[in-house]
Symmetry: none
Subunit: 194 residues, 4 copies
Amino acid sequence: MGEKSLQKRQYILDTARKVFAEKGFKSVSMKDIVEACGISRGGLYLYFDSTEQILMEILRMEAQETDDLFAGHISEEDTAADILLLFLKEQKKELLQKKDSLTVAVYEYFFGHKTTDRNNTLRRQFDAGVKVIEKLIEAGIASGEFYCENPRGAASNIMYVLEGMKINAQTFGITEKMVDEQLLYIMEGLVVDV
Amino acid sequence: MGEKSLQKRQYILDTARKVFAEKGFKSVSMKDIVEACGISRGGLYLYFDSTEQILMEILRMEAQETDDLFAGHISEEDTAADILLLFLKEQKKELLQKKDSLTVAVYEYFFGHKTTDRNNTLRRQFDAGVKVIEKLIEAGIASGEFYCENPRGAASNIMYVLEGMKINAQTFGITEKMVDEQLLYIMEGLVVDV
Amino acid sequence: MGEKSLQKRQYILDTARKVFAEKGFKSVSMKDIVEACGISRGGLYLYFDSTEQILMEILRMEAQETDDLFAGHISEEDTAADILLLFLKEQKKELLQKKDSLTVAVYEYFFGHKTTDRNNTLRRQFDAGVKVIEKLIEAGIASGEFYCENPRGAASNIMYVLEGMKINAQTFGITEKMVDEQLLYIMEGLVVDV
Amino acid sequence: MGEKSLQKRQYILDTARKVFAEKGFKSVSMKDIVEACGISRGGLYLYFDSTEQILMEILRMEAQETDDLFAGHISEEDTAADILLLFLKEQKKELLQKKDSLTVAVYEYFFGHKTTDRNNTLRRQFDAGVKVIEKLIEAGIASGEFYCENPRGAASNIMYVLEGMKINAQTFGITEKMVDEQLLYIMEGLVVDV
DNA sequence: CATGAATGAGAGTTCATTCAT
DNA sequence: GATGAATGAACTCTCATTCAT
């Protein structure tokens, strides 16, 4: 595949992303993507064989980007609480955005492809999240910012809550106020004095 | 509709429930249900017009049953902590059961039918859960069992966590140990001395 | 399948037979048959799953009919030579008919589904033909009509020749004269005095 | 066309031959040949317009080679019986070889392109075969090796039998024993004393 | 009420053929 | 000459939905 083809491939992925964001996974057909891209039926098959393959590729790319992003920001001199807040704010932003979210597509896909496998994208993301938060809490304890007897439990708690809010956001909506209240509740449980 | 028809209608709902439990919502076709029921194609249409209508009816019935169930058990003389534990155990059981769970079907359905509407089944269940837990916590505080500065926040926290775990259970699996750890973490945050 | 459906099934088979006779096997699509029958796309699939299945069913029926036919005529009091001649004439008629012949379809099919298996329709027909002719020759020898040192070889010879002529008829045509000459040659080799 | 182009053309023909030998005619697509050759889609079209054209060219070449071959070997001093046997052995070898045989491809092609035309490759080959055998039989009669009242009929008989065996070999298989028996039967009918 | 044959729209997929580079 | 991306037609197969019986 030449230079041009790579551009087209990327174009297809970008366009398909919008389709997935709008319609989830199961309702998206190759035809939908073909039409969104404005290319020919056969043309799409030159690049991808199925909607599944396309979604997987999109997720792979996003995971890459997220990693890169994190790597860029984490080496700050902020306090643990600051970083945790930053992280939660980031999650909140993602949570509340309606358009552009692959959440539904991803869940729909993994409902039909449950794997306990550690390669499962969702699981990897979840585990990674827990680990990051746990580290932050421990750092916070060391610096005297936080008080917590069970950093691992607290970290899991936060990730489960985020997961729960993400789902609620996609099924019956969730307001910014609701998110803020819950995040505040979580921070209050950690911070030594507020 | 006569007696017999009602029986048949119920038979269809019961059978369809199994189909939804097995395949979720989007992958279930009228044909699937017809075949599972062993009735004629046209016969199904005499009772229901779409898979959506069938699922909605199933959910309506389940909600009814759940309410009845709760009403029966809540009037005990147990302590607040006992009741909360009971509630969490019930949730845990539901969480870990693979077969017979409509979880995936329900999420798949509501992904495609988001309504902020208070009639939204999921929302009603969530709100009801928060309220119940909040009451329990307040009762626990009153009886000296619990300590909690923000019962509403804690109640929401618990419900979000349950939601998060439910999803994880359906996408990449979750072990009993993981559930227990998190429930323990939650209880420890509430109970006065452990 | 009710009475009516059986009629329709038969109608499809009869119509498909014409299509196969005209276009062979490989060039016939389900669509071709649908259009020839004047039914809907999905309608055909109610009865048959593939062109292969349809052709096989047609062959099964034809074999049945042939058997019945034979059974009806063979109990005559004709001499062996008469019967053999009758048989050869029948073959000749089949050979020379352009329309309505499944020859090409059958060969095209079996080219792609070679089986040494005794269930192979072609093989069964061939073997049956050899046996019938062999019996006739032996009867002719007994009655003094024929002279033949190797009835089995002669019988095989006749069947191979018929096979060869059938093929030639379908690939570059064959005239009645050519067939007659060869059949005469064969009979001359058998009959005691001509 | 330059030297190089001729080489490439030949390479395509050689490669395509293998494809036809393996898959017959109708199942071979331009794509198959392109892939077998490892050249570009467009590249193939520079040399040939269709699978038909390619097969025709292959057959033209083979006919050429066969003619050359015959020309080389026929001028021996063997007896007619020897030469006929040699010829039959050659045919037998061809008959029994599985790989590398264009038989199926050729029949599949001519099933769909019947021409009574004398240019029809199959017909030319058949007629040529008859003529050669007839000449051999006549020579054999002259030398006292053979006895035959109808050399032309006998020659046709042999060619039809070969044709029939060729077909059977490709549809339900044929054993060497079966071929030998039939060839023996034929020779016995010709040779004066065995 | 109940049946199941029938329809037709629509999704997936493959390939011959063209054409800009 | 050669490439291979792109197109669009053709085919297979499935299913929601209707309707005569």
